[in-house]
Symmetry: C2
Subunit: 237 residues, 2 copies
């Protein structure tokens, strides 16, 4: 079975805030496949950013050694709890396309919402397990889906779901958000489209950091060669 | 000064070969900025892939701890030399946009060619320092350029520069290759354009693995918000 996986991450900061506290990373898995790691550190500014980078670095290093996602999330919790004595927390999401198990695995700690579209329908999840770093025995929320064309997964941060609250819109219904997932959009267009709409709901001034991760598995365009692509576009100021 | 950095990596495998021996990774730097890490393991198949993943993982972990690029390359050499007793080699390229030093730094071991376009002209480099893993005191080739809009850097693997040799074209002149760098192309279009042309020179059947890394620093489009994007598109079969 030939499948193309598309992963896209689009992020913006809270309005007028220079630094966001979250870090996203895409890594290759040693058994084949890719993982997206998304962490958001407690607080704001440089300390939060440094914290989220430590968490993603720890998880990336473990995944690259072949450690399972759930074990990596537990390890990140224990590492943070031991180093910071339960005083500091972070959220963590791991979204993996795992060619060893032939599944898409989602592993979540914190308040990122999750939308999973499979051939049998759409499921949405607002709650996950508690944040990392506060307790000794924190474990992750997990879900696993077989790799099939048409599978789509979205992870959206608090700032996306709550967009519009300040302007007295009602919170973004996840089903409504899932309606953005149209089959002909690629992952980049999907992530950008959701981010744009969230910014619009906040009247152009995001009330919070906003992150969207989109994963799409699709049947590839017929092409003579398999091309792999990675890219990043980052404003620096 | 507002600048947008665009990083794009496009790769394809040697014709009819399922697995390439190279690994590319994009990581955030703790002091601000991003780095691309590209490694190619000696040999082919799973062993070469595993080797290149070990090298990029080692370098990524060090960069995320704030280690300088040159020191990370030396460490990767020493690690490989110690673990594999000088029997196995890998190439390594690190391309960094470093906001702490306000420079773009290029660090190379191996046979990847390099094209640097600055406001004062284009420079091309075919040779770098020797590959990692074979000797105890290997050091990297390095170059450093100030961060300015208009800076463009290309890294292209052996398979790109030698495309067409089998069909008796002359090797691709780096100046000619640099002519692909037109100011209005974004990094994705640039990397894809060079890969396409290399594949065409090999009559649609790449004689070797092919990788292109493109970095462009540009003045951003006027936009109300700073959006960060990362993406990956990977065929799985």
């Amino acid at each position: 079975m030939n499948i193309t996986m598309e992963i896209a991450i689009s992020k913006t900061n809270k309005y007028a805030s220079r630094e966001s506290g979250d870090t996203a990373e895409i890594v290759e898995r040693p058994g084949g496949g890719m993982s997206v790691i998304l962490a958001d550190g407690q607080g704001s500014g440089r300390a939060a950013k440094s914290l989220s980078m430590q968490v993603t670095a720890k998880v990336a290093a473990l995944l690259k050694e072949g450690v399972r996602d759930g074990a990596a999330a537990r390890a990140a919790n224990d590492f943070l709890y031991a180093a910071r004595h339960g005083q500091v927390s972070a959220t963590l999401d791991i979204l993996s396309v795992d060619l060893k198990t032939n599944t898409v695995a989602i592993t979540r700690n914190g308040d990122t919402a999750c939308i999973i579209e499979t051939p049998s329908g759409i499921r949405t999840y607002r709650e996950a397990e508690r944040r990392l770093g506060l307790h000794g025995r924190t474990r992750p929320w997990t879900a696993e889906e077989p790799i099939v064309p048409g599978l789509r997964v979205l992870l959206v941060s608090d700032g996306i779901v709550n967009a519009g609250l300040r302007t007295h819109l009602k919170p973004w219904d996840l089903e409504e958000l899932a309606a953005f997932v149209s089959p002909d959009r690629d992952a980049n267009a999907l992530a950008d489209g959701i981010l744009d709409e969230a910014v619009r709901r906040d009247s152009g001034r995001p009330g919070d950091d906003m992150s969207v991760v989109a994963l799409i598995l699709r049947e590839p365009q017929p092409a003579p060669l398999l091309i792999r692509r990675m890219s990043a576009e980052v404003p620096i100021s």
